[in-house]
């Protein structure tokens, strides 16, 4: 599952643009992840700061 590190996130929206599921939404200074996230990790790669992480489901 996708973990958003809110203390790191710069709420720039870079991740939103690359999400193949359209699962990320930026509401001003608040990034949210909706139900359709497939944990593909593309957003975590694109994040300039390292605010996103796909954590093991286990």
């Amino acid at each position: 599952m996708l973990v958003i590190r809110r203390d790191v996130c710069g709420y720039c929206g870079c991740c939103v643009s690359v999400c193949p599921q359209g699962a990320l939404e930026l509401i001003d200074a608040y990034l949210s992840v909706e139900g359709e996230c497939s944990s593909c990790g593309v957003c975590a790669r694109a994040c300039p700061l390292g605010a996103l992480e796909v954590a093991d489901e286990a």
């Binding site: 720039c12 929206g13 643009s17 001003d28 700061l49």
Partner: protein, 397 residues
């Protein structure tokens, strides 16, 4: 906000503001929403723009210009510095803007032309009737409102969610997003009239570092790298910190700016029934430089003109809005985007050795004009041995 407009604009950046201003000037009723509580903030931009381009839209005003630029310096991977100056000399070729003020000024102009403006208001879904985009459901401070419109202009920037909700796939491939961090730094030794670009796979893989002056001893110092080169420990932030440590160790950082810039081809189709997509949302930022201010303003203005015609005809279907799509593609902007995409595809594959060779060759050129096109034309003329290397792009010129 009224419940109904001729034109609803989603997003208050330069693309949305130009669309709103243009449409209001043409007598349309216009509503513009911006999801942030303030226009122009936070900045997501290195703030550089060409002088001639900007002046297509407005007279320059010191109120929103941070610095005037008369040359560019390119620093090769081996440290060799090449200066690009137009032969006319002394004339500024560009500006570094103060986007906080610039964006606000553009939205104020739209308001003065008659557009309604509402900030801290975001679209949460499109209103679609009979397959035609007919407005948006918006939310402000927990209050939900439906705003109907004959045409909606999606100017919602790199995130580009509104068009996606309308069925247009705006996803940027990971290899074609430039992931960026910029510091506004002060107390640094810079050339206040030059923009400086640092190239190299160690400095900024598939991207570059920029130093754009913002005033005395102050500059935007930023980096963009390809999303496919970014990973834990080698993110743009890591590269930028390394660059700053070795180049501006005594500088002070007074602002952090983050963002993403697409360097992919534009969307295959930038209109749908009742919908026009402009600026970064349409993926029309420049694939080489990442610049998008002019491109957004150009497409925003054109979108409003075409929307006004379509509304007057009583037909807002995609075919009726197609003159927008066909119009920007046929424009100088459209051909530059196409050409620069293919040049970019060539450049990102270059090793540092080849980049060094190119920069050394370019530095020996006598440039009369300050454009990518002229540089490459001159390069081929000057150094035929590069012809083979540049064959891939020669045919584009």
């Amino acid at each position: 906000m009224k419940p109904e407009y001729d034109l609803l604009v989603i997003g208050g950046g330069p693309g949305g503001a130009l669309a709103a201003r243009t449409a209001a000037e043409q007598g349309l009723s216009v509503g513009l929403i911006e999801k942030r509580p303030a226009i122009g903030v936070p900045v997501r931009c290195a703030e550089g723009v060409g002088r001639d381009l900007l002046e297509e839209f407005m007279d320059p005003d010191p109120a929103w210009i941070s610095a005037e630029i008369d040359r560019a310096v390119i620093v090769a991977p081996d440290g060799y510095r090449m200066s690009l100056e137009p032969s006319m000399g002394g004339n500024e070729v560009g500006y570094v803007l103060d986007r906080k003020r610039f964006d606000r000024e553009l939205v104020i102009q739209a308001a003065e032309a008659g557009a309604d403006i509402q900030v801290k208001t975001r679209a949460i879904s499109p209103i679609i009737e009979n397959g035609t985009v007919s407005g948006a459901r918006v939310e402000q401070n927990g209050l939900v409102q439906d705003i109907r419109a004959r045409v909606v202009i999606a100017a919602d920037g790199v995130e580009s969610k509104f068009s996606r909700w309308c069925g247009v796939d705006t996803t940027v491939p990971l290899g074609e997003i430039e992931t960026c961090v910029q510091y506004l730094m002060t107390g640094i030794d810079i050339d206040e009239a030059a923009t400086v670009f640092y190239l190299g796979n160690d400095v900024a893989p598939e991207g570059y570092v920029w130093v754009f002056p913002k005033g005395p001893r102050t500059a935007n110092v930023g980096i963009g790298i390809s999303g496919r080169k970014s990973r834990e420990g080698s993110r743009p932030l890591d590269y930028l910190n390394r660059f700053v440590r070795s180049n501006f160790p005594n500088g002070r950082i007074v602002e952090w700016i983050m963002g993403g810039v697409s360097i992919c081809p534009p969307l295959e189709k930038t209109v749908a029934d009742g919908l026009i997509i402009v600026g970064d949302a349409a993926r029309v930022s420049d694939p080489i430089t990442g610049g998008g201010i002019y491109n957004a303003m150009y497409t925003g203005r054109l979108a409003a003109q075409v929307a006004a015609d379509a509304i007057a005809k009583g037909d807002v279907s995609a075919p009726s809005l197609m003159p927008y799509d066909a119009g920007w593609r046929a424009s100088k902007l459209g051909s530059a985007l196409q050409r620069n995409y293919r040049i970019k595809e060539y450049f990102v594959k270059l090793s540092d050795d080849k980049l060094n060779r190119l920069v050394h060759s370019i530095s020996r050129l006598d440039l009369s004009q300050f454009s990518t096109l002229e540089i490459i034309k001159e390069l081929i003329r000057h150094d035929p041995s590069l012809l083979l290397e540049l064959k891939a792009i020669r045919d584009l010129l």
